[in-house]
Symmetry: C3
């Protein structure tokens, strides 16, 4: 909740009167400058029919629902995921305590799901380490079923790989298991998730980002976007629109996005108005970076992209499989926005 | 219709006796040269049983339907999409008039769908501009519902981005909205489509190519292929096989294909007999072009590919998700052909 | 069958007491070193409840099924596919005899499917040729329906392209057709499959690898992985886990994997513990090879990847669309393992 509140404060704080004002301004500008009719009436929530007589009540209701959702963005919900966790230092080892529990998770306003969370978060805390670190992830299983953690894309000893009956016994309810290794991979974006009954457990929320931090950064702002399409519906960082968090940047800032897909479908993520540069795939730098406006992220893949937030406005940012983002009642699911101020 | 007719004339005109003759010739050649039996009887449309006694009536019927479809290719249907539109010059501004209407669309011979079209075309007219152009797209909404246009991948001011309630009010039935900006993107392949109730509206046909033309071309022939998988079924440029248009090239010519996917599924497009070179993605040149025979195009992506038509014949060209191209009654949907003469 | 037996012998032979011992050892090591409880009881197949009182009988049953499947890996089944075939030399031509028949195919222990096979194998024999070879593939159709063969990605005369009614008549039951050409493509990974009623025929097993061998190899071991998702379920080389074959390598060996997808879905193949280097796509070398741990293979695509087997252990290797690999009864389908000893 703290994080969602923070976003709202950022959007509202930096350039009052808030993002909605930006939206309203954009609409007003557009109407004034280029539209041949006055649209202001359509922006009103009133149920009065428009001058277009062939617009039935159903259509208006759909538009009103649509508008209400946009106005609610970013909507407040209980719970927030992906808080950075850097561990506690114990005899030179970075120790991370991760507890899996069953939770009720508010995906979008008023929509709750039976979910599983690491440390009460979906996605789980973003584990942040550095190359050369000795790390211990102490996993406590407080779920009603067996579990385990696999560190996806990470180089580690086989016994730490997290696959029940192959590299370890399943971690039973009430039990613990410690994953310990020395980080040898290069800086980049990795993932961790359950590897037991995973179709269900990952779908319900047992996943998170594992980030190996670089010695120095070539960007001003960064944001991890974990894509999901399981038991919680279509989500970005565990939330569906309008409860997703916008990415807010001051004009001219360099932005890094870490994409990862913990779902079962591909998601072509489209950022309006920009091309971003793909600089890393699966935690490895790309030799010849390339520019896209639509980045396909398949299950298990990670991509790091960089761009300069050099165009003012509220830019839609969403999966381009349209049924993952829009229905008869307007936008939902895998939609967020880039707000450049 | 003019375009389909044109294709038929090209195929029939350049090297009579038409493509079918090419097909027949190929079959005859194959039979003569390498088959151990005389297949000529199977090419006949008659319902007489073959010498293969274990071939039941059902199988023959399937084969006959299959053959009839291939022979009908390219089949004549009402309506054709993607006609190039370069706008009219008004005070130094290129003005494009785009009207959205509900239409009946003939997807393949005799198969009509309730569709939406820009200027009566599916895909909408191919808007062709040059870098530096000042453009105005005057959008008239003659649909029974609200709409808007988003220019996908194009750099423009936020107010021109076409997202209802975020960058503009929805354009109501009977109303208009003018999108105006100066083209700053590099030459390449972009897209435009509805961004209101888009799952339905794009699926029904509200999409088109937006091409920024290069100063000079390194190819002889070009063709845009807009892939669709929505309310009109599996389509290439708004038509399903056998109503799709073949790509016809004289031997040795350089061919550019602009792929774009306005659907919800990925389509791995496979060209028989050739590898093509991917030279651009999402409107940006690829630094290290690479060769493929099967190009995956996901929703929202665009790819430009180049190749030399150096092998004579009729080459199947289709999505390699086989259920998008073939059923018990033979080929349908996302199938076309490259004809090299 | 010979091949599966060979694998088992390799795993058991090189470093007894077999792969399972490796698994058991890994589990034991993990328990001893890092787990806070003794897991040894969970490794036992007995149905006795654990100390975790909230673990119901259902969960234990699931875990037991899971464990039993892992222990059965690699499970013996009837039939094996993809045996290398180099043809017989007739007057300077390499002649390959390929007969398609209907078969009963054991996908995983006890699970049989009505299938189609080339030379009784699924995938069909791996046809291995060299650039410059004159080849003849003599196709005999012993199926109850018409068929044909398309050589996917291969450059050949149009009449040899294998598309019924376009480049040849369908090959009727009881008939034969000879595909003949001179191999002009560069060394790499190609595919062959039915191009008649292909949704069904390919799905049932009419597919195989076509490999153009290099003059010299830069790897020690190679393995082709043909991915399938049709009538036989989710398969790797025609088998579902635990009947899939592990990839076994001595530590330090260079391994080449040739991926190809003959199905209808994309499969992001994830190798635990390693990044591999993509060195070729669709039979063409990649100019700037890139490293991945999760490789998306879409229908019709081929990828060659190289890596060094430098980490000991049993490494899970599976599709990361989790519903293709795991269900309530444990792993199935597109799962195999890399065993480094």
């Amino acid at each position: 909740m703290k994080r969602a509140a923070l976003w709202r404060r950022i959007i509202r704080g930096i350039a009052p009167p808030v993002a909605l004002a930006l939206v309203a301004a954009a609409c007003a500008t557009a109407s004034t400058r280029t539209s041949v009719v006055d649209h202001s009436e359509h922006a009103a929530p009133a149920a009065t029919p428009t001058t277009a007589s062939n617009t039935g009540g159903t259509t208006m209701t759909m538009l009103q629902m649509e508008e209400a959702k946009v106005k609610a963005f970013p909507a407040k919900t209980q719970g927030t995921g992906g808080a950075p966790l850097r561990g506690r230092l114990v005899n030179g080892v970075k120790v991370f305590d991760i507890t899996a529990t069953a939770v009720r998770w508010e995906v979008s306003p008023g929509q709750f799901a039976d979910a599983y969370a690491y440390n009460g978060q979906i996605p789980g805390p973003e584990l942040r380490v550095k190359r050369g670190d000795r790390v211990q992830i102490v996993f406590h299983n407080a779920l009603p079923e067996a579990s385990s953690i696999h560190f996806h894309g990470v180089t580690l000893p086989n016994a730490m790989d997290g696959v029940p009956f192959i590299t370890q016994p399943p971690v039973m309810p009430g039990e613990s298991f410690t994953y310990a290794w020395r980080v040898v991979d290069n800086p980049g974006t990795y993932m961790y998730h359950s590897h037991e009954n995973a179709v269900e457990q990952v779908s319900k929320g047992l996943l998170g980002a594992f980030v190996i931090e670089p010695a120095s950064k070539s960007w001003d702002i960064e944001q991890t976007l974990v894509l999901g399409d399981g038991a919680l519906g279509f989500t970005i960082n565990g939330k569906g629109f309008p409860a997703t968090s916008p990415l807010v940047a001051k004009r001219g800032k360099r932005v890094l996005i870490r994409f990862m897909n913990a779902g079962q479908l591909l998601h072509p993520m489209h950022l309006h108005g920009f091309h971003f540069t793909v600089v890393a795939r699966d935690g490895r730098p790309v030799e010849s970076p390339y520019d896209l406006d639509t980045l396909v992220v398949a299950p298990g893949e990670r991509f790091d992209v960089l761009f300069s937030a050099n165009l003012l406005g509220v830019w839609a940012f969403h999966c381009h499989i349209l049924s993952h983002v829009e229905g008869p009642q307007g936008m939902f699911g895998m939609v967020t926005a880039l707000v450049v101020k």
